[in-house]
Symmetry: C2
Subunit: 462 residues, 2 copies
């Protein structure tokens, strides 16, 4: 029985898919501090104009530049694999496929957007890119891409991960990037936070503030900021995952998946696997689509849909998204890449429209799934990815109980070779489950009260 489906380089998708063109309800614009829609020009100190054009584009298909494809060829098309050993272990009639994004040199799906972002910046004459990183996957990916394209790269890494994942910062160093722990003393935003709480574990929201501050502070105009998730153009670049998976499912003789699953922090790997199938769902296919988040940071499952800032220091525009409030500091779970208070507006708009079924998973449950995975499929997954595996297992068991031959597809967003300390804590029984109380969430939502509210209307027309 075949366990992997490989595409050759000539079969790589030549265009990205833009869900904004197909959503039944149009995307609501980002707003400035005055509550009015921000113009592309207002973003120009932060991003180069070619990326801003993609950010606001309504075009359904957008060409992938040839030079970007030639870098992606190093690891893409990525394999689609079938988890036959997990299927046997679960005694499920479901067929479980996973798209293996762990094969990139940086170990996750993140280079899919790091490479085009670095390339567009280079085209725009930019010499230096700043960014934030949680678990370090994104920082590694941007370091990798900037190195290949000859750009400088500066990474603000969330303190808790900087300490827990010493090897990721070494990877960035090998690829020539400069990585510092956030909050740092290099920025006003960082210094302010450290003054309030010198022992803060940090958060993506804080690190974003620092990276943006340092980008716009360069008065030569040669520095821009890059975000590894959340924004529309990032979701766009990641759709190559789902577009490849579609071709590969066809190779495996599957007409369509019944269920598509991805873990969701800022939303990018989830969007990557899901959006091409959301398109099919909008056009009438029966597909369930499940973003899975940590119970410790339950943005989609417990946060309201509201306008909010993407960062703690309120340097970003207001985005329409499910959010726990921009001052929410997620507990120090090992799935650092899922510790984000907000979520990609494109994902959130699809959730509002009822196109998706968000789930949350506790830390210990996620590691249990990771261990089942390691001992059946033989691969060690990233702690983020274990959230997707958990839902895949749940759905496979449900298929067994219902006696149905479902096709389950999930995104294997990254390997866990740099995250083994979390496995050690789990095996030692020392891993804590966090779940914020309703009162805690309420407290973090207070700063949202004065902010504009996006429409929560849905068409249900799909």
């Amino acid at each position: 029985m075949m366990v992997k489906y490989l595409l050759s380089e000539k079969d790589i998708p030549k265009q990205w898919y833009n869900l904004a063109a197909d959503l039944p309800t149009p995307m609501q614009p980002p707003l400035g501090p005055d509550g009015r829609p921000i113009s592309p020009e207002m973003l120009a100190p932060v991003f180069p104009m070619n990326i801003i054009e993609q950010e606001v584009s309504q075009q359904r298909w957008i060409d992938i530049p040839q030079e970007v494809l030639e870098i992606l060829y190093r690891w893409r098309p990525a394999p689609l694999r079938r988890a036959i050993f997990l299927e046997k272990y679960l005694k499920t009639p479901a067929r479980i496929y996973y798209k293996d994004e762990s094969v990139s040199p940086a170990g996750s799906h993140k280079p899919n957007t790091a490479v085009p972002q670095a390339w567009y910046n280079k085209q725009a004459g930019i010499k230096r890119i700043t960014t934030e990183t949680g678990a370090g996957q994104w920082g590694c990916a941007l370091a990798f891409a900037c190195n290949l394209l000859g750009l400088e790269c500066k990474v603000f890494m969330v303190r808790i991960s900087f300490d827990q994942k010493p090897f990721r910062k070494l990877m960035m160093r090998v690829w020539g990037a400069n990585c510092v722990a956030s909050p740092s003393t290099e920025t006003q935003a960082g210094r302010d936070i450290l003054l309030q709480d010198p022992n803060t574990p940090g958060s993506l929201g804080i690190a974003i503030s620092e990276a943006i501050e340092q980008a716009v502070a360069d008065k030569t105009g040669q520095t821009r900021y890059s975000l590894g998730s959340v924004l529309n153009h990032v979701m766009l670049h990641q759709t190559i995952i789902g577009l490849e998976a579609k071709k590969q499912l066809a190779m495996a003789g599957e007409k369509k998946p019944d269920i598509v699953i991805g873990c969701a922090g800022g939303g990018s790997n989830f969007a990557g696997i899901a959006f091409p199938f959301v398109c099919d769902k909008i056009h009438g296919e029966d597909i369930r689509i499940i973003p899975v988040e940590p119970a410790a940071c339950p943005t989609l499952t417990r946060g309201p849909f509201s306008y909010d800032h993407g960062d703690v220091a309120k340097m970003t525009p207001l985005l329409p998204m499910h959010t726990l409030g921009h001052t929410f500091v997620p507990p120090p779970i090992h799935a650092g890449g899922l510790r984000y208070h907000g979520m990609a507006p494109l994902v959130c708009q699809a959730v509002v429209e009822g196109l998706m079924e968000p789930r949350s998973v506790t830390q210990n449950r996620a590691y249990e799934s990771a261990m089942i995975w390691a001992r059946t499929e033989g691969m060690i997954c990233a702690p983020e990815t274990s959230h997707a595996i958990t839902s895949a297992i749940d759905e496979a068991i449900k298929a067994r109980e219902e006696g149905k031959e479902k096709v389950i597809l999930f995104n294997y967003s990254g390997h866990g070779l740099m995250d083994l300390l979390g496995y050690e804590k789990f095996l030692d029984g020392k891993l804590t489950d966090y779940s914020p109380s309703d009162d805690e969430i309420k407290k973090f939502l207070l700063p949202l009260e004065g902010l504009p509210k996006p429409s929560t209307q849905k068409t249900g027309k799909w």
Copy 2:
């Protein structure tokens, strides 16, 4: 331009290639303590009989069991990639191909033999396997294989690597193996060494003694020992690498490689890529074949061809090989997988016959190459693999100087994601180059004086 050549599962080689059937000079037998050839039965307390049969086989092609293939399918056939970015950087007319063995779940070529070894042991009714490991690649591979096949696994890991590479032992734990630092207090061999030198960095030779002692000590007969390199059956299992590479070079339109390169510690990844091409060389093809070892442990380049023990405590039979003496404790270089005093007899016999051109490389030179690799090809290689890359770079530069379009093939034996501390030391300028003096080597060769001498006759008939 294509940068990778992929085979589908149905194109995987169905048989291993046994070089012993084609060597111009026959292999010289292992000898017992009395200097007489040992019989297969004498090895029975250490290995199961089905593996012993492979060890002494003269059959050219040996079938790969179907169940073994089905496990190998998880990552095999492995990609053949072309290093076009390194080629550009070096401005070489050479075409550089590398077989990517880093894609296995354990991160190296080692599972190619771990899986069949565990499978043959299981067939023979064995319940538990003991082994040694250097850098941890082999221990991880055997842990991975034993877990999938439901066998217990005990690993003695060389102390220096146990301390330098904390994550590798966690991988073994995730896969359910029990890993201890060697020398340990669990065996007589370990206790003896610790008594002499409590701070010893350990060596593969010591760890082998411990693993064999513990295997034969199990009087239920349900435990056997497994070796990750050196022996004939291990070389056999690894030939799947070169057999796949041959098909893939043909896909790339190459008639043959001009140069085949692999790093060499015990010899297994080198044999894996090289032996199918040694066969072609014996039959008249013009191919240069280069094993690359560390200057700190220069077995092939500075050790004599002699009968010697494979381990410090002299528990193994005497093997005909290039050796630095079984009491040689290699300096603590980061390429732990290359810290072995001996070398596979099959490799050594081919060297004696003049079929190969061994090279040695200093530690800093190897890391320089690893950094060039990371910043051109974008991948972070294992410290062992950087030795092969160094020779590939040397040969590509030579091709440029000669203005010749050579085809260079090397084995990318593993990734370096668990070995980043070595990179850090290199980048900090803190890495030491070791090279034993002639007097040091002479001292370690003293114990060989009373041992039998193998024939060094060669036919030159190829």
